[in-house]
Amino acid sequence: MVRNVSAFRPALRSGQRFDVSAAARPILSFESVFKSYRTDQPVLRGTNLVIERGEFVFITGPSGAGKSTLLRLVYCAEQADDGRILFLGRDVARLTEQSIPVLRRNMGVVFQDFRLVPAWTVFDNVAIPLEILGLPSRLIRTRVGEVLERVGLSGRGADKVSGLSGGEQQRVAIARAIVGEPALILADEPTGNLDPQLAIDILGLFEEIHETGTTILFATHDRSLLELRSHRIVVLNDGRAIDVPDGLAITIDEDDVQPVDDFTIPMAKVAV
């Protein structure tokens, strides 16, 4: 079931009104974003990127290209040195400390290392975004049950996450990311700790979530996943985002390529 995009209403701070025009804007856009941890080694150098609502986008590039940084900038774990990052048309860098939690409630984040609380049960880990919203416990139970079923963990709510396999833990993390029905999911190397078959399963799960209308940014350096599916691919190279419209698995002229670690980008077909 594809969610009606125009009916989307982000979680807002109390007293804030929903701006209807926001629904027409790209869900996320990076405008000349600069970020460096060391002055001599900039990670992002004037990155421009527009993500439309409902897209599934692979963000790829070699290690250290800035994939994680790009995502961390979106959920305000980092601040850009320059440029703007607009989420639904609003510059996230200009959000107050009090508004950042509200921004994060509109996003789901999935990590390579799962970031689950090991002492908690599956249910507790998945329920926490709803508890933060102050929903009644009965509704939380229902909603968590539905989501666990969706990720293939039906009936596992009482299990401690520390006793689950890597694939199951990642499913719990995905369940936590989608339980609040966020507009955007940021997945930072979510298959990095999984074997190839599990990685494909997890990718399939993200695609199922995407089919319901959720926008997904999937950062990975796993070339096999990129070749497996025909989604939009953005390569981070030399601090810039390069769109690869036809994917990486294309036949190209040897004179027309620029090697970047194990990524070979057909420059003639790149829209910068």
């Binding site: 774990a77 939690p101 970031r115 609380v117 926490i128 975004p129 933060i132 009644p136 416990s137 609040g180």
Partner: protein, 294 residues
């Protein structure tokens, strides 16, 4: 409302259950600190009762000169009984005084002394509402009467007990400061340790949109609980010690102090527990005020 409260309690239990052993150690340390304060309060409370008892003893001993006739004594008693602050009078002759001393066994060796060695007195019982100023005025007037040798108002004893109470209060204040420092130190350290242990939880909470207030909530409640339980445990410990001491020395203490010692009233105990909870919450806040940024 009830549902959200239950949910909050569940959240606190879920977060804090892993740190129960650390919290028990913390509660033990707090109980040791609080038991010092509670002991000082117990001593001050009973000293104040002794002070009140002696201040309310409301009696004056009027020592008569040798050779004072019965008529003079009768006139004196009549005049005193008409004084508003005087409830009653009792004439204790030298023979009566000797008999009381010897019969009480307080000073049996004094039996060898002649009757003349014991001064005759008129014992005045004063009304309950008599003030210190009235007692002083009565004593001053009596000292001017020729047949009266001296007047004992027992004010010196009250003054001494008052000084003891003041000293006890000062000692309690110092102990309260020590306890304050101990509570702040123990709870804020425990909370920093708990925060470190639960940094993944904090990180996850912030990641999914929890406000700092939401994240800090369980820590503050856990701090408050430690403070309250520490104070309550100290009171329980002190109550046991008090029961043992009182069981063995009740009569001696009663004779020595003039009152039966009592344990701290519930208002003071409740205040101590509330203060422990408040201090605990404030200390926890100090410990976790800087949540690591995600």
């Amino acid at each position: 409302m009830i549902g959200s409260s239950m949910s909050a309690v569940g959240r606190i239990w879920r977060s804090g259950r892993g740190d129960v052993r650390v919290y028990l150690l913390s509660v033990f340390s707090l109980a040791v600190a609080f038991v010092c304060l509670a002991s000082a309060l117990l001593v001050v409370f009973n000293l104040r009762a002794v002070e009140t008892r002696w201040a309310r003893a409301g009696r004056i001993s009027v020592y008569l000169r040798d050779g004072t006739s019965n008529d003079q004594v009768a006139q004196l008693r009549k005049a005193l009984e008409q004084t508003p602050a005087v409830a009653s009078t009792r004439h204790v002759t030298a023979a009566d005084a000797r008999k009381e001393m010897v019969d009480d066994g307080v000073a049996g060796s004094l039996a060898v002394l002649p009757v003349e060695a014991f001064p005759a007195t008129i014992e005045l019982a004063l009304t309950d509402d008599v003030t210190d100023e009235q007692v002083a005025a009565i004593a001053q007037k009596l000292r001017d009467v020729p047949s009266i040798e001296s007047v004992e108002t027992y004010q010196r004893w009250t003054d001494r007990i008052s000084a003891l109470v003041r000293g006890g209060v000062a000692a309690s204040a110092v102990l309260a400061l020590v306890v304050l420092a101990a509570v702040v130190s123990v709870i804020s350290s425990t909370m920093r340790f708990a925060l470190h242990r639960r940094r993944v939880e904090v990180e996850v909470l912030k990641l999914v949109g929890a406000t700092d207030r939401f994240v800090r909530g369980p820590f503050l409640v856990e701090g408050a609980l430690q403070g309250a339980v520490g104070a309550a445990a100290s009171l329980a410990l002190l109550a046991v010690l008090y029961a043992i001491v009182r069981g063995k020395f009740d009569d001696e203490l009663g004779l020595l102090l003039g009152i039966r010692p009592t344990f701290l009233p519930w208002e003071i105990m409740a205040s101590m527990i509330a203060a422990g909870a408040m201090l605990g919450a404030l200390s926890a806040f100090a410990g976790v005020r800087k949540l690591s940024a995600v």
